[in-house]
Symmetry: C2
Subunit: 407 residues, 2 copies
């Protein structure tokens, strides 16, 4: 086990969500002594929304979830850790169908009510017998805590990750809880590994889907650890409707804005936790790009900086090498003019108008870089486009974890 990330946050106190019951079991997908199957039972009437990886080579679990999301109803979630079941052909598809059938047979729900995610090594079919035995064990297991579930869905994560928030909708207090895993292969365009959100709100599936996609665009799609994109990335949001609010069906419904803000806040908290467990991370980095010709252009420039190995290693070395930021802006291929570019580290302007600021004093920048939370600001001076991307530094820890993961 790798040491706990220095950026880890303590596991929060989390309330139960009415209509959600969690269990974990040990399917034994790897030779380890820990729970690796998470089973979540959801009360009748639970609706679901979700977003999945943009990879052109998705896992069969992702394909299954995409189909099931169209129906928008959920009664169970099964999460397998240690084997992603991706790129396993018919045998992988058969494993997913077997899991859904097992749960449906035992609980009386439809197979399409069963949502399935798997994470771990690619290319090895998920063993059906272990999955089935794990499900059987989970069905009779005592109720597990959120923390046990957050641990059971993890792979290379160094700490369990969860967040909570609330909103008042229709006079009722709505609770939202999320658990998430992922610390590498975290990348643009859908950047969690696996995230699961649970709320007692009453809301219709299409509205929840719209809100989930909007929240994703400004949270999970704005984090990157290594620029790599998993074949399995999935975030699912389940709403049991037990809070008793008048069911939300349109964004203009009273309280819908409060719920959306809470959902977005929960997603941002969870996205930041993933970066905080970035493989080998020692610094949490926020990259703010302003003055671009559009928000999309700002996003691409910020991602170019966030994914630059030279920028990430400079931050790891606490080196105020802002020239590498110039390099990363220049390589993004987006509109940029060298002689309008301004760069700051923390609150300190280091360059503007195409060169270092007059009388540049590196001392406050060096002090900022010694901290755990780093801020890099870039102003392009061209327009109103803005974006923020969150990432971490690139250290020896990343190499150690990834040069010998599978063995």
């Amino acid at each position: 086990m790798t040491a706990i990330s220095p950026l880890a946050l303590p596991f929060p106190d989390l309330p139960p969500i009415d209509g959600v019951r969690i269990a974990v079991s040990r399917a034994g997908y790897k030779a380890w002594d820990r729970a690796d199957l998470t089973y979540v039972a959801l009360d009748a009437g639970t609706v679901v929304a979700g977003v999945t990886t943009k990879s052109k080579c998705p896992s069969p679990e992702v394909e299954w979830c995409r189909q099931a999301l169209v129906l928008g109803q959920a009664r169970a979630l099964v999460v397998n850790a240690g084997n992603s079941n991706a790129f396993t052909g018919n045998r992988g598809r058969a494993a997913v169908e077997a899991i859904a059938a097992r749960v449906a047979g035992a609980t009386g729900c439809k197979p399409s009510d069963v949502f399935i995610s798997s994470t771990g090594v690619i290319g090895v079919p998920l063993p059906i017998d272990r999955a089935e035995a794990g499900i059987d064990a989970a069905l009779i297991a005592p109720e597990a805590t959120w923390e046990e579930a957050a641990q059971a869905i993890s792979t290379t994560d160094t700490f369990p990750k969860a967040a909570v928030t609330t909103a008042v909708v229709d006079g009722k207090t709505i609770t939202l809880v999320g658990i998430i895993k992922g610390s590498g292969m975290i990348a643009p365009d859908m950047a969690t590994m696996l995230g699961f959100l649970f709320t007692d709100a009453a809301i219709e599936a299409p509205l929840l889907q719209r809100m989930m996609e909007a929240a994703n665009a400004h949270t999970f799609s704005c984090i990157t650890v290594d620029g790599d994109t998993s074949t399995s990335d999935t975030v699912l949001a389940f709403a049991t409707g037990r809070a008793g609010n008048a069911r939300l069906s349109d964004i203009s419904d009273p309280g819908a804005d409060a719920f959306e803000a809470a959902l977005s806040d929960l997603c941002r908290q969870l996205a930041h936790l993933v970066v905080r467990d970035g493989e080998g991370a020692s610094k949490f980095i926020a990259i703010e790009v302003e003055g671009a010709t559009s928000d999309e252009s700002a996003h691409r420039i910020a991602m170019s900086i966030a994914n630059s190995p030279l920028v990430k290693t400079a931050i790891a070395g606490e080196d105020a090498n802002w020239g590498r930021v110039v390099m990363a802006v220049g390589k993004a291929g987006e509109p940029a003019e060298r002689d309008r570019l301004a760069i700051r580290f923390g609150a300190t302007q280091v360059a503007e108008g195409g060169l270092a600021v007059e009388g540049y004093d590196e001392a406050p920048v060096a002090a900022h870089l010694k901290g755990r939370e780093i801020e890099i600001g870039v102003h392009l001076g061209l327009g109103e486009g803005r974006a923020i991307i969150w990432t971490c530094d690139l250290t020896h820890g990343y190499i150690s974890i990834n040069a010998d993961y599978r063995s």
Copy 2:
């Protein structure tokens, strides 16, 4: 000084090029005890062609060379190592103009006949007094060897890099010699750091330019170390015309094809040397993508694999983790179908039709991965598009070099 790359090749025996005279001197751009200014005098009648970085934030040296290339005539080359002079505003531009003026004043050529490149840290104006003193010293220095020049243009390089080739044109043996530097910030679309090619061929500048661009597209633009793109990348080719062949002016001229093949061969040798000195590299990796919908699509998929930190760390760990290749294909955003994808490591097919091959035996793959020269082949099964990209693995050495470069 970092240890010499395990992928280094011995410095070749290089003949002189008629019309080319080299000198080196110590301008003292950094606190080091080595030559850091290279001066090349070129006989009257020398023509020049070149390609430069696609960065939107190029150095003033790059802007200077672009302007001078339009005229196509060269009498001198000055290369400064230890300071890239990039992102230095008017002071950087003034330094470039001062260098050209100093050489023109001393030799009687026009400022536009003087080509200038600088490499090193970004954001610090090149000190004009040191540059001028370095030029003055070089002008009276004894003739230097190719190896001394290759060392003088280096920064983080661990070994000097050069190559030679010949061609017969119009019954005359033409010689081409190139020196190159660069080991990080090596990236798509123009991927050397600084490369300088010298030939005694008689050829007109526009034809040399066309051949240089074509060679670049299949060599320097097909290597990547870290996906980062320098603000200073430049390759210049100088032709003195002293070989006595009938001057080549069109691609259909007799011998033009032989010369073009030799130029391309030289560029490929030099490009491979840059990868062999990739920062921290322990493996030289060739990534061949076939069956894509177009050559451009194949290029982008191969680059996605070559720049994936997870693929690069797996190779460093000699781990046959072909699932990461699937991941990198999937994230490229190019047409790909999981169930047609085939992958090989070396000569061993590991996956086809969307899953591991029947009876996959990892032993020959593991043996291949223990070597220094790694080959990854991907067949998409969609069309005729092909590309080859050369890269290296990502190791602790890269982190060590780059987390503490500037200090």
